[in-house]
Amino acid sequence: MSLDKPYKDVPGTTIFDAEQSRLGYHLNQFCMSLMKAANRERFKANERAYLDEWPMTEEQKLAVLARDLNRCIALGGNIYFLAKIGATDGRSFQQMAGSMTGMTEEEYRDMMIKGGRSVEGNRRVGEDGSAQAHRQPQGAAGKKDI
């Protein structure tokens, strides 16, 4: 019997369900450890060595080192846990959320001030909204890397 997961067809979205949580347990608990100031200091002093103390996959460690939040989420990370990395780096939720869209910080902030991202075209995979796979990356920050 398979489980009913109707949220799999929402574009640009990974729902943190029991399966993702299982994959991301150690990654998320590493993030949790950064709530202690002493651990933040040790992590900042030598990120790789600190990550090696955790039974995370190599892919997860590389995604953290690259601060690639989309990759972290694909590998089981959850945004509320990953936010502890952002706090360690001195970044806000808005900066973190924006980083996953390919927009610059300014572009993302402007989108929010103008009322945010429209749901039109972004309800289901296969439509033509800004969050669809064929429209990535969005904005100037993502395009610089191409």
Partner: protein
């Protein structure tokens, strides 16, 4: 006997707490948001409760992935504002009401809702930002608070229907408490927002406003909306709105009383990544 006289609904964005704590509330970006709560701060003074039953969610603060309770009631005497990684918010300690909380826990569990009982935890912005919005920056919060944490971080979260029925059980629990005290129940979180992936930044003002309309006039129908509609229409983090149905379920009309009076309604976009909604409903 104790009675629930009003319910309050509000979003709880962490950036709102930071704006207040850093003295930015009069900046043009934040001013329209805080203006929406001017009425509410006065209303809190005019309608001071004896206890606030505050439904909120923890954001990987008190609860990591080591334990994920679906419904957790705080029965402690006090709760410290948490260090969420940016340092603790400079807000008062949250005093609890262990006698009423223990009474509610016993009653609600006997009504078949299996609550987790928490005697020690820190509280994060999910709880302290609504207090700041409604009370400003006092030396001490105006009354004791019973924290009620709902898992909306790991799916599946409780359904809207389950939350609505839980609210009804909480009302019965409060009304079976002998002391004659005035209780407010708050539902917090939401409205539309998504903090992750290429769809981050999603806002759906039309859906949010329909949610407010139905929360007021058709809460029973609203409670039947499935999870997937919240995710698709209001973003992956918009699912927090199920918590509002707990507070709404505790209002008198759901048990056959009069419809509540809408004392205040406010909606604003954006606060950081999020649409902010706010309602005050009074039992008649």
């Amino acid at each position: 006997m104790a009675r629930i006289t009003a319910s309050v609904y509000t979003s709880h964005v962490p950036a709102i707490g930071a704006a207040l704590d850093l003295g930015k509330s009069h900046e043009p970006y934040w001013q329209p948001l805080f203006a929406g709560y001017d009425f509410s701060k006065q209303w809190m003074k005019d309608n001071k409760p004896d206890v606030i039953f505050l439904v909120y969610n923890d954001h990987a603060t008190a609860f990591s992935l080591d334990m994920i309770p679906t419904f957790a009631i705080g029965t402690a005497d006090s709760y410290q504002p948490a260090d969420e990684g940016w340092g603790p918010r400079p807000v008062p300690v949250v005093k609890g009401h262990s006698a009423l909380a223990s009474h509610i826990a016993q009653s609600v569990i006997q009504q078949d809702f299996d609550l987790t009982i928490v005697n020690k935890m820190d509280v994060d912005h999910g709880l302290t930002v609504p207090l700041s919005l409604m009370c400003g920056q006092p030396e001490a919060w105006p009354c004791p608070v019973i924290p009620f944490a709902v898992n909306v971080v790991q799916y599946p979260v409780p359904s809207g229907r389950r939350c609505f029925m839980l609210g009804q059980a909480i009302r019965r629990a409060v009304e079976s408490y002998d002391e004659d005290i005035n209780v407010h129940i708050w539902g917090t979180g939401g409205m539309s927002h998504q903090l992750q992936g290429p769809r981050a930044g999603l806002i759906n003002a039309e859906w949010d406003n329909k949610f407010l309309d139905r929360l007021i006039a058709d809460p029973d129908g609203l409670s039947k909306v499935p999870h997937i509609d919240y995710v698709r229409e209001a973003g992956s983090e918009g699912i927090e709105l199920v918590m509002w149905l707990i507070a709404r379920g505790a209002m008198a009309d759901v048990a056959g009383g009069k419809p509540p009076k809408v004392a205040h309604r406010f909606f604003h976009v954006p606060a950081s990544n999020t649409a902010v909604g706010h309602l005050i409903l009074e039992n008649q």
